[in-house]
Symmetry: C2
Subunit: 355 residues, 2 copies
């Protein structure tokens, strides 16, 4: 039995793997999903169903479009200012980690980024809370979950300017109020599907106001008009996203998975706080329910614990190099039994190494 | 038995489907290829092997980089001028179809496109041959195979300016001399792998000369420096490309598949020319060995033939709306037995409908 705590591309439900595997062999009349035309009625059905699943699961209000694009969040770092930031204008950014920082760096090609707050000096181990967003900002951008540091921003910051959010690593993990956002984007490879797909949810009325001429593939309006099929979409990734979102729906949707995710996170953080060998790395009130970062009180025990975990079938527990220690990513598809197994492992390790 | 003549995403070898299906269930130690970290040694091995396969199969000279990107050829329509065309300068384009035209349209965001020749007035049913490429062009761009019209440009046009080629639908189908090109790009979904992957082969020395500040994800140099892993790559699509290129290698490589492709094309064109009911749609000397377009002498027989083909398990034979009639796409993975089956079908239909 293996437990995949990897930060992404990450575990998806076993039944999704089975269904996807079968569709690679035979999706329809003996044809593989990999050889289906994206213009076939069958794939058009997949696209329609996947779109509907995103809308239903997140309760997307009317006036918003759901897009399936390529290039990951990194491409959105450029597409957002390209589409939303008029020449020479300023957008407000909250700097909560390396990914927020990468988003900030892409703004310079289109205008200015105003970093309204940053926790960089504390190695991003908390979410800044006291800051103001200038009302003349073209938009306010933040990262809702910081995979590297294990911090998460749960309450949408209040502002009068359009809110843009990189939700790559916590979309579909908890209930959100989409109406509070003007644009949400997410690389699919955590809670949506496999790598190679990006989901964008955009309020139609904010588009077309930058005054900038935008190449077709970088223009949200072009993709809206094309129903995410302006060009050949990543057929298989969208199909697997459909399977995975159907799994989520069958589990009771986002509200139900949120309960499970919180239960998983609470159990694991409780053990980190209780266990004499481990400690958390970030501010308790900002602890992510997706990525649980922890280190050892005695750094010399890190290698032995890593080895112990590896020998027992635990994958992907190594922390990011900029934080060190360990990171347990506990996305939607990670079963609570894997979390309990990890807790058992930590307790067993404590027994062995108690001073 | 089904015969998939679809124009793309298209048929891949059956053994590739089997191997890909298995890897979705169990790629390594019970983990799916869909849940593998792109930073894992296993996937780094996949990336290295796929890169080597492209280089070996196409005999890519030193001084060139092979990149695996997202966004399809359509994204390249913009990335090419963004990276290669200095502000206000002109690039030469050969207009041989709708895709060439789409590439031309994206140039205006970065400079000017000079259409050196076009076969638009003839609905792109031939490849223009008499034209000159101004020596002060930043580059010359052409489409080597035009899927919609069934035309193909076999000899690289001679010019002193850098040559850029959209090889989406004939890359890996016949031997090419990469040293004659400065940049080759191809959406993967014909002879390389599934949709959601773009292969770029670029001569390193032509980069960094546009004088333009380029967003990271749109800058070839960033992707070269990142080894196509500046951000999360489309893991599964690259893995399937590796399987497919290994299949091609095992068949004897590009020179061997070229013989087979030519045999398939010759057999089918011979039948089109012989059969009293059918006729080809484009100039004989420009006939593509990948997409064979044909119509019926009597248009009233088109629906009955389409129905007859459908009843006999033939998929994807419908011609593009701008040409009409039929299109048999006979990419690498389409077995010659499927071509023979189509020829038999055409002969059987002729017997039934002989006047």
């Amino acid at each position: 039995m293996r437990h995949n705590f990897g930060a992404g591309p990450c575990i998806l439900p076993q039944e999704v793997f089975k269904q996807a595997s079968q569709a690679v062999l035979d999706f329809k009349d003996g044809l593989s999903i990999l050889e289906m035309s994206h213009r076939s009625p069958e794939f058009e059905g997949v696209m329609a169903e996947t779109t509907k699943l995103v809308k239903d699961l997140l309760n997307v209000p009317s006036g918003y479009s759901v897009l399936f694009l390529q290039g990951g969040a990194s491409m959105q770092f450029a597409m957002v200012p390209m589409n939303l930031l008029p020449e020479g204008k300023t957008a407000a950014y909250l700097e909560t980690g390396v990914w927020a920082n990468k988003a900030i760096k892409e703004v310079k090609f289109f205008g200015q980024a105003n970093i309204v707050a940053s926790s960089k000096d504390a190695n991003f181990n908390f979410i800044p809370k006291q800051y103001s967003i200038p009302e003349d900002s073209a938009y306010f951008h933040y990262t809702s979950n910081n995979t590297i540091y294990g911090t998460e921003l749960f309450d949408v910051p209040q502002t009068k300017v359009p809110v843009v959010c990189d939700m790559s690593s916590d979309i579909m993990s908890r209930v959100i109020d989409v109406s509070k956002f003007d644009l949400i984007y997410a690389g699919a490879q955590k809670n949506i599907g496999p790598a190679g797909l990006t989901v964008v949810i955009v309020k139609d009325e904010i588009l077309g106001k930058s005054g900038r001429a935008i190449p077709s593939m970088l223009d949200y309006k072009v993709h809206i008009d094309g129903g995410s099929m302006y060009n050949t979409p990543p057929v298989f990734a969208i199909y697997v996203a459909m399977l995975n979102l159907n799994w989520l729906k069958s589990k009771g949707g986002v509200a139900e998975i949120e309960k499970e995710n919180k239960a998983k996170a609470q159990a694991l953080y409780a053990e980190i706080d209780r266990n004499t060998l481990f400690k958390g790395t970030c501010a308790v009130e900002d602890r992510s329910i997706m990525n649980v970062c922890f280190v050892m009180e005695n750094p010399e025990l890190e290698k032995p614990f890593a080895k112990f975990a590896d020998e027992n079938g635990f994958e992907g527990l190594k922390g990011h190099r900029s934080v060190g220690g360990f990171r347990a990513s506990i996305y939607n598809a990670l079963p609570i039994t894997s979390v309990h197994a990890l807790i058992d492992l930590m307790q067993e390790f404590e027994e062995k190494h108690k001073s």
